[in-house]
Symmetry: C2
Subunit: 163 residues, 2 copies
């Protein structure tokens, strides 16, 4: 959003273009999914929990979420009756996320919403631009912009013991 480039910049403002389009698309996606009571994270967990026996840790990995964020997301899915925690049959520490019948139905609808939002954006472009845009973004994602650079983390104090 923050414009990095003043009028005399030598390079196009790729930061602004990616941030802006990403932000607006995210807002559209959030609004569209909110109509059926989902967040983007809930959708992500739901669709990846269908058909496969996946633990919270595995789903967190797929959605690039922290395990504590996953707890909150699964709480929300359980509360909405869309998924359930079940003990893993192979590891008594782990919980498998089982999608309910209602959850499977919602997942089907939410995937259609996601596809629609993406299609609407992509169809606003001429076909040749659309194809090259996707190819370029995939190339960046696998290449030069594959991994974030690590910033030095601020030191974090231990939390107070509660016992």
């Amino acid at each position: 959003m923050t414009a990095m480039a003043p009028p005399h910049a030598e390079q196009p403002d790729l930061s602004f273009l990616l941030d802006h389009t990403g932000h607006v698309l995210r807002s559209r996606m959030a609004a569209a999914l909110a109509e059926i009571g989902l967040t983007a994270r809930m959708h992500c967990v739901l669709v990846h929990a269908i058909g496969e026996e996946r633990t919270q840790a595995q789903l967190a990995e797929i959605g690039d979420m922290d395990k504590t964020t996953m707890v909150v997301t699964v709480d929300a899915l359980e509360k909405a009756g869309l998924a359930e925690r079940r003990p893993s049959s192979t590891d008594r520490r782990a919980r498998v996320i089982a999608v309910t019948d209602a959850g499977a139905e919602v997942a089907h609808r939410s995937q259609r919403i996601v596809d629609r939002v993406h299609r609407e954006a992509l169809e606003s472009l001429p076909e040749d631009e659309r194809v090259v845009l996707l190819r370029a973004l995939e190339r960046l994602t696998k290449g030069h912009l594959a991994e974030p650079v690590e910033q030095p983390q601020p030191v974090r104090r231990a939390r107070q013991r509660t016992v």
Copy 2:
């Protein structure tokens, strides 16, 4: 980051592609600017305050920041000796942001850093893809993805009066 599309999605996952590339580029930009002690916001304010007599409100508009965020940003620039608040000659409520000599020098360096980070990303693409990527992102920015959709804001209680 959150993958919106499972393997059976009908549309390419534009959300993921824009979020991921935007996030990684932002992390690179932040790391590069941190080497000369700037944040992206400080850079943005600095380069747009040069040459023009602009108030905080005008600079906030340009960078799409809240006016309270602008206060923090200008505080940081003043503390670093890169800019100063001066009373506006035409409106005694307003403060004009004047860039110091040191600030102008830093702004020149930071713009070179910004251009370099953008150039490195863009040059990782074949020229034809690069041109079309920029054209497509600009088309989306001016067209289908011009404005975020408004989400219903959560209600906010009044803060306690301090007097």
